[in-house]
């Protein structure tokens, strides 16, 4: 690898969306040689076929232990690989573990060249987690909406209330019992299920 050319980066990730987000980020930052591996069978031979300078792997991936084999001097290992740890910068190790990403590099690759790549991976991983959280929250909110609507329907039918009255009744009960309206709605559904 010459000093000018872009290092070859392999992303090992079973999540296609996160890998795409990462790949896009790396390309935008000018790292054009990016290969995504999503298949874990024979992972080492897949990696050797690409012959990367840097390997990025998510920490939820059990195959991380497979990469550790590349530090070993053995017939199976072609280029010595080391985990990227900058002993002088504990904060960056912490940030990467907390973000859930780890990087392995070809021994001898300069720290200045790796640092921006790792920082980018950390920020993209964090962005992905945030997206995931938002998605989970939205899903949860949608489900809660459905439960409230069904509970409202039951109250309207049983007590002859209007939609507005049914909602107000649930809301005031929730406030009185210091519960969420979704919980009250759920108890109405459960009760009506039991009393069927």
């Amino acid at each position: 690898m010459s000093a000018e050319s872009s290092p070859k980066i392999v992303i090992v990730d079973e999540s296609p969306i996160r890998a795409a987000i990462l790949e896009e980020g790396l390309r935008e930052a000018g790292f054009t040689e990016v290969v995504h591996i999503s298949e874990m069978q024979s992972l080492l031979s897949r990696i050797y076929a690409v012959d990367p300078d840097i390997i990025v792997i998510d920490l939820e991936n059990p195959s991380r232990d497979v990469l550790e084999q590349m530090f070993q001097v053995s017939r199976a290992v072609r280029r010595p690989i080391a985990m990227f740890v900058d002993q002088s910068d504990a904060a960056s190790i912490q940030a990467s573990v907390e973000a859930g990403v780890s990087a392995y590099i070809v021994d001898g690759l300069k720290k200045e060249r790796i640092k921006p790549i790792l920082d980018l991976c950390v920020s993209r991983f964090n962005a992905f987690s945030k997206l995931q959280d938002e998605l989970d929250r939205t899903k949860h909110a949608l489900e809660e909406r459905k439960v409230i609507d069904r509970a409202k329907g039951i109250l309207m039918k049983l007590k002859g209330l209007t939609e507005e009255e049914a909602y107000v009744l649930m809301r005031s009960t929730a406030m009185r019992e210091k519960k969420k309206i979704g919980e009250i709605a759920q108890s109405i559904l459960t009760a009506s299920e039991l009393l069927k």
Partner: protein
Amino acid sequence: MTTPLRIGFIPLVDAAALIVAVDKGFAAAEGLDITLVREVSWSNVRDKLNIGLFGAAHLLAPVAIASSLGLGHVKVPIAAPFNLGLNGNAITVSPALHAALMEEIDGDRFDPMATSRALARVVAKRRKEGTEPLTFGMTFPFSTHNYQLRFWMAAGGVDPDEDVQLVVLPPPYMVDSLASGHVDGFCVGAPWNSIAVDLGVGHILHFVADILPSAVEKVLAVRQDWSEKHPDVVTSLVRAHLRAADFIEQPENRSEVARLLAQPERIGVDAEVIQRTLDGRLKISPDGTMRESSRYLLVGREAAARPDPAQAAWLYAQMVRWGQTPFRADALRTVMAVFRPDLYDAATGTAPADGVRTISAFAGPPFDPNDVAGHLAAFRIGRWTP
């Protein structure tokens, strides 16, 4: 006052003491508020312990040693005041390799020297026929599984770096890899050997107790600097886990323990499969052949939980033998100091044991930690140069 503590573990049967200490309340009784965090790789457990996301961890004994020496990774000195288990691993091979070995074997099939020599003949035959070398899976470069496989095959004349291929595989992938033919055999802990047998894709060839009667497997690991700052927590940890280990070893508690371990957020496999390991009564072949061993997995009995620095020295000797590190007298001292019988004794009120124990494997002279070089010189195959 309770002390909150996060402990990382890998879903394996030898995490039993950790799980029982929390789920049966032994940890709470010692004033510990432990959250067990299930992890997917040894690298994660190591890194999260190193940077302080975990207070303590279920750790492969060789990883505790490698971390203290800075082998393969950053140097973080570890203290191991408690053994979570001795033995517990097994070597499992595919039906095809099993048949080939049984055809070549001269002697008792449970004698590791006989199977190792049979393996050497199978390897020689395959080479003559121009067949691909055999591939064996193990869990980590610094693992008991790696060293136990190597020790076994080298005794019969197989060079593990030249004659076969050893590859790292995460335990949950072992069985699939054996079924698909990516590996011909593996060495792994429970429950994975039994699962391979139940699916009809493997035969358990050896219990690790065939190779070494007592082999330290996983330790309860804390950072050394942390152990110095929190001596009371270390004491509570040792006590809680010793009570858990004693509970596990009572035969009348075994089915309850198996049920606790089987929970989805703990190990998450069938309780019956876990109980086989705890009882040391295993189905070793798909045809239903059973084998019993009182030494299959030791959690606490026969003082199994007490750290033995000679065991640490034996593991270090294997790292030297296979070229993972050159031999150094000061490194040996560091390694032996990772295992902390003093912390165990202080916490449990055990009288310190005298002298150094030797370790006898099925091949080679007994191991004496005072003469690692002399011991290694007795083995023909290795990557070590004096």
